[in-house]
């Protein structure tokens, strides 16, 4: 069991956004979390790596619980890909990817750069290695941010709506990278509306609504015969016209 999330509660003011959510991810699995907007999907992801500390509940990575004492170390194992990419604007693409290994892992300059170039190649961005984020399109930036995540050799990658901020023509290149990663055996937990990825690459779909996990199961099962009315509603709504709820 690579990632164990137990009973996460989170409230903002008077509203309880996460009402006791638990899930597990085994090594090599790709799980996609779907659901209507505002059900706390992104919040859940941010609670997992404590960017937003949960009010209750715990998260275990490889059996070790995340606490404030080991937080930074644990985060090295949990890479995070943001909806808004959040590349470091003052660094070129290759340096964005290399900065983690260099500064956190203590790798020397040359080794880090080699590693960075390898990861950039993996996401198809090696020709633009010297470009600054501002010079790249959204899809390119997101791919660099995936390379940046990979460079830290994480156990799990958390994706927070990786394509939601992209123009439709650009989502394809990012989804392609994600599919490749899944088939390479990377453990992934993805919050997304991308039906294509969910159908083809996910081992399991987790459907959330109202701060709970309503149901979960393999894509064929969930898409073909959803148990709950809400799930059915949601799927039919996004089934029409492709991705995007």
């Amino acid at each position: 069991m690579l990632l164990q999330v137990e009973n996460i509660h989170k409230r903002y003011g008077t509203a309880e956004v996460l009402k006791g959510v638990s899930l597990n991810v085994v090594a090599g699995q790709s799980k996609v979390i779907m659901g209507p907007s505002g059900t706390g999907k992104s919040t859940l992801l941010r609670c997992i790596n404590h960017l937003t500390p949960p009010d209750q509940g715990r998260v275990l990575v490889e059996g070790v619980e995340i606490t404030s004492a080991n937080l930074n170390k644990m985060r090295e194992k949990l890479a995070f890909v943001f909806q808004d990419f959040n590349l470091f604007t003052h660094l070129r693409a290759v340096d964005n990817v290399a900065v983690g290994p260099r500064k956190i892992r203590g790798m020397n300059k040359v080794a880090a750069r080699d590693l960075a170039m390898r990861e950039l190649e993996r996401v198809g961005m090696v020709e633009r290695a010297e470009a600054y984020p501002a010079e790249l399109s959204g899809g390119q930036q997101q791919r660099v941010s995936i390379a940046r995540a990979l460079a830290m050799e994480p156990k799990v990658i958390l994706f927070d709506e990786p394509t939601s901020a992209l123009d439709p023509e650009l989502t394809g290149e990012v989804v392609a990278v994600m599919k490749q990663l899944a088939s390479d055996g990377m453990t992934m937990l993805v919050v997304s509306h991308e039906i294509g990825f969910a159908r083809q690459a996910a081992d399991e779909i987790i459907f959330m609504d109202g701060g709970h996990i309503l149901e979960q199961g393999p894509p064929e099962q969930l898409f073909a015969s959803p148990q709950h009315e809400r799930t059915r509603q949601f799927l039919s709504r996004i089934g029409e016209g492709g991705a995007g709820a």
Partner: protein, 223 residues
């Protein structure tokens, strides 16, 4: 006649410039170190530090530079010997720190929060994220406003005149007394010297800004 006098007195004036520049460098350095530290502590530190920072700024921006100079020279001399130059560096340096901390705080805050999140999510500690990700960007963004501060402090060095620092303005006074007249000419030259050095400083900082610029780097983080 006037030209003759100006030529013979120029070495003294230039010495005044030299003293003023030394004063300027010292006070800006003090202001930089203290101001940057204050800004970082105010943004990332405990809330009590915010209050301290606000208090510090309130005090050092609410008191005229001249009064600070008098306080640090005559006032401190009541307890311990202090040279006019040192008093000037302290008075103007602390005041500059108050202004500079505001500049740096503004720059740090204008960097999109997502950058910090990405750095932390990767496993960087807060201090490392500040050092490697936030500061390089914040300092670049600060150069513009800092240039204004530079000009302001360059002119402020003239105030050290009142506590006897023999910088440019006081040199001018000495020259006027010793050569009996030519007041307009001397002050005009002095004004020109300030103007020229101010312009040089601005130009240098502008070049620095250009050199360090990163493409597309307008206001803080991108997506």
């Amino acid at each position: 006649m006037i030209v003759e006098i100006l030529i013979t007195q120029m070495p003294y004036l230039l010495h005044g410039v030299w003293v003023a520049l030394q004063l300027l460098v010292c006070l800006l350095a003090l202001g930089f170190v203290l101001g940057l530290s204050l800004a970082i502590l105010e943004v990332y530190g405990h809330w009590t530090l915010r209050w301290f920072g606000v208090l510090f700024e309130r005090i050092f921006r609410g008191i005229p530079a001249i009064v600070l100079l008098l306080l640090f020279y005559y006032g401190v001399a009541d307890f311990v010997d202090i040279s006019a130059f040192t008093a000037a560096v302290l008075a103007l340096g602390l005041r500059s720190a108050a202004y500079q901390s505001q500049i740096f705080r503004g720059s740090i805050l204008s960097i999109s929060h997502g950058q910090m999140l990405a750095a932390r999510a990767m496993g960087m500690s807060k201090p490392m994220a500040i050092r490697e990700i936030i500061l390089p960007q914040a300092l670049r963004l600060s150069i513009g406003p800092w240039t204004n501060e530079f000009s302001s402090e360059m002119k402020a060095t003239s105030l050290a005149y009142v506590i006897g620092v023999v910088e440019l303005t006081r040199q001018a006074r000495y020259i006027i007394s010793s050569t009996q007249g030519n007041i307009l000419a001397v002050f005009a030259v002095v004004a020109a010297l300030y103007f020229i050095f101010n312009w040089l400083g601005n130009w240098g900082l502008y070049r620095l800004e250009r050199k360090l610029a990163v493409p597309g780097f307008e206001q803080g983080g991108q997506g």
